[in-house]
């Protein structure tokens, strides 16, 4: 039952977006999120929609696949929309009982919902087209300047990629421990939420013990293969910018420029 979890949801395909350098994609995502909060008016949003639509089309990820990610934040969107619609003061359109729906409120509700949708779509296009490994590689290289202020960027990136590698192993192990305990009469599936959480505790103890043992083994295996931190290390798959990456940078900056321009006119 735990095997269905997919983390970092990568959608394998061969597209120009998939081949972009992860640093470009990280930068573009950041810019896109900022632009969503800068955009004003119909034109401003129009540009954001157009830009996103173009990237989704280029990425060859089916739109249906992307919409799945939206389901998870449905409740959040409904709450945001309702609060905005009901609590913004202004010109009253409809009023019933103690609620008043105002023109400004309606406008705000639509804006916020649209922003949230684009925010999720925009960031999920990055995780869908970038493998977790590329992502950590990209982060490591993009954040390298932080080394100067004594932040161990390499170690953090290494931890992230090892964590990603061990997720399926630990999930499998959890499954195994659950089955072993169920065979001896443990009950994980009935009772209210609190009771279920309590029943999980005897599962966590062996899981933690085994995770620590694995960590110990892995550390030794890494040492045995001459791992001694990021110093003097070479890369099998180094990140290098191709022409398409520079083009993508220019495009993203142009997009930000247009959004800013539309804000002032």
């Amino acid at each position: 039952m735990l095997r269905d979890i997919t983390i970092g949801q990568y959608y394998p395909a061969d597209s120009i977006i998939h081949r972009l350098d992860p640093r470009v994609k990280l930068f573009a995502t950041l810019i896109y999120v900022i632009s969503l909060f800068l955009a004003k008016g119909v034109f401003g949003f129009g540009i954001s929609v157009l830009f996103l639509a173009m990237i989704i089309w280029l990425s060859k990820v089916p739109f249906k696949f992307m919409v799945k990610g939206l389901k998870a934040i449905m409740i959040l969107m409904i709450i945001t929309a309702a609060f905005n619609a009901l609590l913004t003061p202004g010109e009253v359109l409809v009023s019933f009982w103690i609620f008043k729906i105002t023109k400004e409120g309606l406008k705000n509700a639509v804006m916020m919902t649209a922003r949230l949708i684009f925010l999720i779509l925009g960031t999920s296009i990055m995780t869908l087209t970038t493998t977790p490994n590329q992502l950590t590689d990209g982060l490591e290289k993009a954040l390298r300047p932080l080394n100067k202020i004594k932040i161990p960027v390499h170690a953090i990136a290494m931890m992230m990629s090892i964590a990603l590698r061990f997720i399926p192993i630990l999930v499998e192990e959890t499954d195994k421990i659950m089955k072993a305990q169920m065979a001896r009469g443990a009950d994980f599936e009935s009772g209210n939420l609190l009771k279920r959480v309590k029943n999980m505790i005897p599962l966590l103890v062996p899981l933690f013990v085994s995770a620590f043992r694995r960590a110990d083994d892995l550390a030794m295996a890494m040492e045995a293969r001459c791992y001694h931190g990021g110093e003097g290390r070479t890369k099998m798959k180094p990140l290098t910018y191709a022409r398409r990456d520079y083009l993508a940078y220019i495009l993203v900056i142009a997009y930000l420029g247009v959004t800013l321009l539309l804000r002032w006119v």
Partner: protein, 284 residues
Amino acid sequence: MNIIKARQLVHEYIRRDEEGNVESIQTALDHVDLDVKEGQFIAVLGHNGSGKSTFAKHVNALLAPTEGTLWVDGKDVSKEENILDVRQTAGMVFQNPDNQIIASVVEEDVGFGPENIGVPTEDIWVRVADSLKSVGMLKYRNHSPNKLSGGQKQRVAIAGVMAMEPKCIVLDEPTAMLDPNGRKEVLRAVKELNQKKGITIILITHYMEEVVDADYVYVMDHGEVVMRGTPREIFSQVGTLKEHHLDVPQMTLLADLLRQSGLNIPLGVLTREELVDAVMKIAE
């Protein structure tokens, strides 16, 4: 030339209480003398707790000796500046295949060792392809290690060590967690590396069948080397092996029982073919 040379090697696990006082001392290696020549296939036998894994970790400089000295390719493992060289000369494969694969793609895992020792990018690709080929795993290079069988994972781990171009590989019970097929796969790969590439192999195990083809066998018990010799010499001493809580290969045991019941079968029978020959000779 001796690639590995141990003289009076002692290792003690010291357990301390919260104040740092010594609670108990457990001697895992007790004055071990051991020599391995380059290109040999060595087996170290012993039951659980005999000190064989502790010895393996010394060869890779993961543990430092309490007393005595161990030289790997002429370098003293207890010297800090030699550690990276020693680890590069003597690679190590561990028991649990899941806990020694670092990356989430096979080829990236094999590339991990060369990355650590600073091999240039183009050379890493050549080494990765070569070492995956030498264990017959080249076609899985883009797979996720999670989808491989135990034997395949262990071969990937061996390839990961091979990519560092070691002179010697220490395998610490590499087949203990595998099914019989995986065990055969791994042993075949190890033997090929020994024969074709001349890599020194130190196989640490408690499966007798894996020892039959070794050039030389050391038997350990309570941290001491209690027996040493060719597999034939070792396995002709069925009684002594039993004293050290070790079994002999099935065929050797059968030959021994037949001999005890009066048949004229020579000592040190190892394989089924040898036993068949011996019995046929008597029948004639």
